[in-house]
């Protein structure tokens, strides 16, 4: 096992930083407490840089996945960190300013940063997972801290309610994919992903294996907020503080997709680039319904956070198209590799969605009692380009990019998904993707119109800048990222392509030449041996 250490140095760095953060965050001296986010930032930068130097693992299904995946995790994590800074500890420091004593036991500042780093550690571990147990533990390490972060992110009961919902439903999801993992182990006789792939390449999937794959995918749909486990998304995003919602939009989704790619890769794409019919059907249905549910429900929202939550659901549907398309044949270029398209799109999605959440966090309004509360209503963004140009333009750029407006980053990402879907001859789902992009335009353009077109001269309840300078910075970083990453899109796309190089065995479908026969065989396996179902 010791040789595995060379692949998880970034995780180790983050872990060390986590330990340091837990100490410094509780330090009685204020200067040291305020130094806490910097430790996390330095750790992320170091982890991201070291990750790019990770050697390739010839035994893994995706030998070069680690450098790219961990780099974008660290990169987006850095923007998230900027966005999250101060969310919990600021009020605390204000109290200290007013003369209250600093009580380490009552403070949550340290935990907040520590949990953030723990979650990112889990995410990175997901990227390097080569074993079902590892994968499960990494996924849980990603998710568990986020439940608590949601709960402590604000003082409102809404946050606690959201956390409880998130936790229980998350447990449900985890139970389901764990069950799936167990069935896969039962079918393949190994927990090592490469060995499972080897097994499925030469043996039929079987009822047990099929059930395991299906349950795993549906359980993981909780992480990526796809149907059938998407229901929690709007409630949780709305209940959490905006920076934490931004984190929820990226971190679990990235973990979920890395896990889905790993699980689907064990079944593998055959020489025609197709998944087994059953798995393909499931993902097809999930992608299709997820897109429609996300986009249509987003149309009705007036709460920007809920809108973004549904948009997050819809984006998961988009990315599932990449899973359907698969990595293409060996040496396929970017526009034929659906996995590369997902990996690139994860980066795009992270950057652009954080931008809008950061703007929501950066403005505040007064509630009925005159206490500041986070802006959430779409009306709060009205005329933002005039009143607060940096924030307004961030909303405009990020919303247009999420819409896939050329030539912004989201366009390049979505183009990759479209092109991969077309090259894999998944034309119907690409048409669904196109229709949904059109529906999505309605609510993204609504965001743009509210922020940009309105003159900002209408009498309205005042929206002020919230005292978090860092969130404005995070928003600006995202907006700049949407444009700047476009300039270096070529190397990033190349890196995603390298990461998506599939090393698994090509699944042999005995009857692939004749589709009907193949399906019949599957059917006969399933029907003739119902005992396996038990």
């Amino acid at each position: 096992m010791i040789e595995k250490l060379s692949f998880i140095i970034p995780e180790l760095i983050l872990f060390i930083a986590t330990c340091m953060v837990m100490v410094t965050g509780q330090w009685p001296v204020r200067a040291i407490r305020q130094f806490t986010p910097w430790i996390a930032a330095v750790a992320l930068v170091a982890a991201g840089m070291i990750a790019t130097m990770t050697p390739s693992d010839p035994n893994a299904l995706f030998p070069n996945m680690i450098p790219y995946a961990k780099f974008i995790i660290a990169f987006v994590g850095l923007i998230l960190l900027v966005n999250l800074t101060g969310t919990v500890d600021r009020d605390l420091e204000d109290d200290v300013d007013k003369g209250k004593p600093f009580l380490p036991l009552r403070s949550t500042g340290a935990e907040f940063y520590a949990f953030f780093l723990f979650s990112l550690t889990g995410l990175m571990l997901t990227a390097s997972a080569d074993d079902l147990i590892w994968l499960f533990l990494a996924l849980e390490l990603t998710s568990l801290p986020t439940y608590i972060m949601v709960a402590i992110s604000t003082h409102k009961n809404a946050s606690r309610e959201a956390a409880v919902k998130y936790f229980f439903l998350g447990a449900l999801g985890a139970a389901i994919f764990l069950y799936g993992f167990a069935l896969i182990y039962g079918a393949a006789g190994s927990t090592n992903l490469a060995q499972i792939a080897e097994h499925f390449a030469h043996n039929d999937l079987g009822t047990l294996g099929l059930a395991g794959i299906l349950l795993s995918l549906m359980g993981l749909s909780f992480k990526i907020a796809a149907i059938p486990m998407h229901f929690y998304t709007p409630d949780v995003y709305q209940g959490a503080a905006a920076p934490v919602s931004a984190m929820l939009a990226f971190v679990p989704k990235a973990a979920g997709f890395l896990a889905i790619i790993a699980i689907v890769a064990t079944v593998g794409w055959n020489e025609y680039g197709r998944l087994p019919t059953t798995v393909e059907s499931l993902i097809w249905i999930m992608a299709c319904i997820t897109m429609f549910v996300g986009n249509t429900l987003a149309l009705l929202q007036n709460s920007v956070k809920r809108m973004l939550a549904y948009s997050s659901i819809a984006h998961s549907g988009y990315m599932l198209v990449g899973v359907l398309a698969g990595p293409g044949h060996a040496g396929a270029p970017f526009y034929r590799n659906g996995i590369a398209a997902i990996l690139f799109y994860l980066l795009c999605y992270g950057v652009m969605t954080i931008g809008v959440f950061a703007v929501l966090g950066a403005i505040e309004k007064k509630d009925r009692e005159g206490n500041p509360e986070e802006a959430d209503d779409i009306e709060d963004l009205r005329g933002l380009c005039k009143t607060h140009p940096v924030l307004g333009w961030t909303v405009v750029i990020c919303a247009l990019s999420m819409l896939g407006f050329p030539p912004l980053l989201g366009f390049v990402g979505k183009l990759g998904l479209f092109a991969a879907g077309v090259s894999a001859k998944q034309i119907p789902i690409v048409i669904v993707l196109g229709i949904n992009s059109a529906i999505a335009a309605v609510y993204y353009l609504r965001l743009v119109a509210v922020a940009y077109l309105d003159k900002g001269d209408r009498p309205q309840q005042a929206v002020n800048l919230s005292p978090y300078m860092s969130r404005r910075l995070a928003g600006a970083c995202s907006a700049i990222g949407v444009i700047a990453l476009l300039v270096i899109a070529q190397p990033l796309v190349d890196a995603a392509l390298t990461a998506a190089k599939f090393n698994g065995p090509s699944r042999i479908d005995h009857n692939q030449a004749d589709h009907e026969l193949e399906s019949d065989e599957h059917a006969s396996v399933f029907v003739s041996d119902p005992a396996h179902e038990e």
Binding site: V164, K165, F168, L169, L172, G173, I176, L214, L215, M218, F222, I227, P228, M229, F231, Y232, P234, D235, T277, E280, S281, L282, W284, I285, M286, V293, T296, L297, L299, L300, G331, A332, P333, F334, Y335, R336, P407, V412, L415, G416, A419, S423, I439, L486, V487, I488, A489, Q490, V493, D494, L497, H515, E516, E518, S519, D520, H522, A523, F526, V527
Partner: protein
């Protein structure tokens, strides 16, 4: 430009051999040139951006003008340097990769490459020399002319001016047809912006729209032509296209009059280009926008609508001359359309009273000459006429502009007289005189030589004698209407009435000038009106242009190259470019004929006769090239004499002359000509009105029917959302049940799919 490559490689679902921008740009055999040449293109763009910045910071000085003059001036110097350093071999200069699309088709893998690069050969240099040179001069002129608009409008003017020079440079220098198209649209846009410069004036707005819309027709032709070129020849780059063995083969067979081997598609390309050229260069039937374009400020009329942009059509045809040679009907049509336009515009010009409009119709008419020149196989003559015309017509316009500037917008030749004797107007009068003798074709002027080249060529090219005669008559008419202006406005008794801009106080664009004039002069009567003589900038430019116009005739004498069998400067420049296919035959047809009549390499292209068909050679018993000097000289002098007799001899005031009773004798014809033969009204009746009715009908179909369908589709997502909404109840237990139910449902669906035997 990484992304362009990335996107284009992604858009093109190409075979993997072309993956991810790994392919090198197709290499042509043409050498690449020094990169400072990019300055010629870049500097005008920089001045445009600077003017935009000046406008933003609210500059209130002449800074935009000086920026533009300096930018265009350096661009001109670079062009001169490019000319001097040119060693006779064409080369390209690469700025950046622009469009590179690779795709596979039935005939194998293809690439569409259109880089942002520039192709430098003698034709490019020839054109750019006068484009940048005139741009510099006219920017200097405009610095004074536009001075009453200092402020944002001043910045806007020079911003569009710089953008025009940039676009023109792209058009002329681009190394592929797509760059030409980019520049083509760019100059069209700038033309629109500058015609509509006085955007509060309804006529200017209407004229700008008219110019833009009429040009769209031509642009469609050009776009289709570019498309067909790519489809047929597989490349848009000049370096590849004009060395394409297919095209060269076509030209070879066309030279012996055999068009049967040339596919129809290849013959259609020049016809489509021709439509584009007719639009941009204001040829019949698309010429109607140019006279109206005179609503723009006069420097714009001089630069864009007389000297440079309108010659873009000539450039296009000269550049793609091999393709025109390979078409049976293209060049004859070009020749005839040019001739018809020349005659038609000249007749209209004779009856106008607005001197700027006379100049506009004269421009249309002279462009007709250039097209006729191209059509009768003398691109040399066409290009030489472009150059001489650029100088003398710019001069004429700028003189008219000076008059307009000084006399508060007065342009009616019935209200101005004897300006020669007014103090301060000597340079303008001299400039006008030099311009007029050039335009009229007085012997030994530049206009005389360039026009004669075209006329003589029309007579030596078999089958075109008729064109020669019509153009000869038109030359007489030209001399008449040109000197009608000169004798009425600059000679005779002194009399002038100011134009309406003097008392038009609420004219926003001239607010400051009005105030100034009104304060100084008090009222509007001619007795008290003091014309405001041009300042140093205008006078300098007029002097320079006068000198250029005089010395342009020298280019007919010097610059010949014995080795290349070229006679003079323009011939040398044009013959060494892609417009060179004629040079062995066309302009030396007679010499070749004299030497060896049996094997005379006839430009025998289709209807123009073949080797068997005898030439209609000698004109009035001599070599047409020599006879033409005498004939056209005499005709020019007759026209001038007629103008002198009718418009100057014995004239006592500005409004009346001997012509008036004679005009009445012709009945309604002068009135018809004054109203431009009602061409605009005819277009309105047969084109615009039916189009309007049709578009109203379509508008209602769209509104009632199409929108209805779209609205239904727009409603569907919302309907779906209302159905789905109850699922988001916010109750934890509900969510858990929904999730579990969802999983069960999905499993059931997969189960059904398996049972159905794989429906997906």
């Amino acid at each position: 430009m990484i992304n362009t490559t990335l996107l284009s490689s992604m858009l093109a679902l190409a075979p993997d051999a072309h993956a991810g921008g790994a392919h090198a740009p197709a290499t042509s055999e043409v050498a690449s040139g020094p990169s400072w040449i990019l300055l010629i293109v870049a500097l005008p763009m920089v001045t445009t951006i600077l003017c935009g910045i000046y406008a933003m910071i609210g500059n209130k000085s002449k800074l935009p003008a000086w920026t533009t003059v300096v930018g265009a001036g350096i661009a001109f110097l670079c062009t001169v340097a490019m000319y001097l350093s040119f060693d006779g071999t064409p080369y390209t200069v690469h700025a950046f990769d622009w469009i590179q699309v690779h795709f596979s088709s039935e005939g194998g893998d293809k690439s569409m490459i259109a880089n942002f690069s520039f192709y430098i050969d003698t034709l490019t240099i020839y054109w750019m020399l006068f484009v940048t040179g005139l741009a510099t001069l006219i920017a200097l002129y405009a610095s004074e002319y536009m001075s009453h608009d200092i402020g944002t409008s001043y910045c806007r003017f020079f911003g569009a001016f710089g953008l025009f020079v940039f676009s023109m440079a792209c058009l002329v220098m681009g190394d592929n047809l797509l760059m030409l198209y980019l520049g083509w649209e760019g100059v069209g846009l700038c033309s629109y912006l500058l015609i509509g410069y006085f955007y509060k004036k309804p006529e200017a707005v209407a004229a700008a729209k008219k110019a833009f819309i009429v040009n769209r027709i031509g642009d469609l032709g050009l776009a289709l032509g570019v498309y067909l070129t790519f489809v047929h020849f597989g490349s848009l780059e000049y370096a590849v296209l004009f060395n394409d063995p297919t095209l060269l083969g076509y030209v070879e067979s066309a030279k012996v009059g055999d068009f049967s081997a040339i596919p129809a598609m290849a013959q259609w390309i020049p016809l489509l280009f021709m439509i584009g050229a007719f639009g941009k260069s204001a040829q019949f039937p698309l010429y109607v926008w140019l006279p109206d374009a005179m609503e723009g400020p006069t420097p714009v009329s001089a630069l864009i609508h007389a000297a440079t942009m309108v010659t873009a059509g000539v450039y296009l045809i000269a550049r793609t001359y091999p393709m025109f040679l390979a078409s049976e009907h293209a060049l004859p049509i070009v020749a005839w359309i040019g001739t018809i336009t020349a005659l038609l515009a000249a007749t209209i010009g004779m009856a106008q009273f607005d001197i700027k409009r006379i100049m506009a119709y004269s421009t249309v008419s002279q462009l007709g000459y250039m097209f006729a020149g191209l059509g009768v196989l003398t691109p040399t003559g066409g290009a030489y006429h472009v150059l001489t015309h650029a100088f003398f017509k710019a001069l004429l316009f700028l003189c008219c502009g000076a008059v307009m500037h000084g006399f508060a917008g007065q342009l009616d030749l019935r209200k101005l007289s004897g300006l020669r004797q007014v103090k301060g107007w000597g340079i303008v009068s001299l400039g006008m005189f030099i311009g007029c003798i050039n335009l009229a074709g007085v012997p030994f002027t530049a206009g005389y030589f360039s026009k004669d080249t075209i006329l003589a060529e029309a007579f030596v090219t078999p089958g075109y004698a008729m064109i020669g005669w019509i153009l000869l008559i038109t030359a007489g008419l030209t001399a008449y209407y040109t000197f009608r202006v000169f004798f009425r406005v600059f000679m005779g008794p002194v009399e002038y009435h100011p134009g309406d801009e003097l008392h038009d106080h609420d004219h926003d664009d001239h607010g400051e000038a009005n105030h100034h004039d009104a304060g100084q002069h008090g009222d509007h009567h001619a007795d008290h009106f003091h014309p405001h003589a041009p300042g140093w900038a205008i006078n300098t430019v007029l002097v320079v242009l006068t000198v250029c116009s005089i010395f342009a005739s020298g280019l007919y004498i010097v610059g010949g190259n014995k080795d290349a069998h070229t006679k003079h400067y323009a011939d040398t420049m044009v013959s060494a470019s892609t417009a060179s296919y004629h040079s062995n035959y066309g302009s030396h047809a007679f010499e070749y004929y004299e030497k060896d009549p049996e094997h005379y390499p006839v430009p025998g292209i289709g209807p123009r006769g073949t080797i068997e068909q005898p030439l209609e050679m000698p004109l009035v018993g001599g070599d047409p090239h020599k006879m033409m000097y005498y004939i056209s000289g005499v005709i020019g002098v007759i026209g001038i004499a007629l103008a002198w007799f009718l418009h100057l001899f014995g004239r006592t005031n500005a409004a009346e002359c001997k012509m008036d009773p004679i005009a009445r004798m012709f009945g309604p014809i002068p009135k018809l000509a004054e109203n431009k033969w009602y061409v605009d009204e005819i277009y309105w009746a047969i084109l615009v009105t039916p189009l309007r009715i049709g578009s109203h009908i379509l508008h209602w179909i769209d509104k009632l029917f199409v929108d209805g369908i779209v609205n239904v589709f727009g409603f569907l997502p919302r309907l779906l959302a209302w159905i789905l909404r109850p699922s988001q109840s916010g109750v934890l237990q509900g969510y858990a049940v929904s999730m579990a139910g969802g999983i069960a449902l999905l499993l059931l669906t997969v189960f059904v799919i398996i049972l159905q035997g794989g429906a997906s």
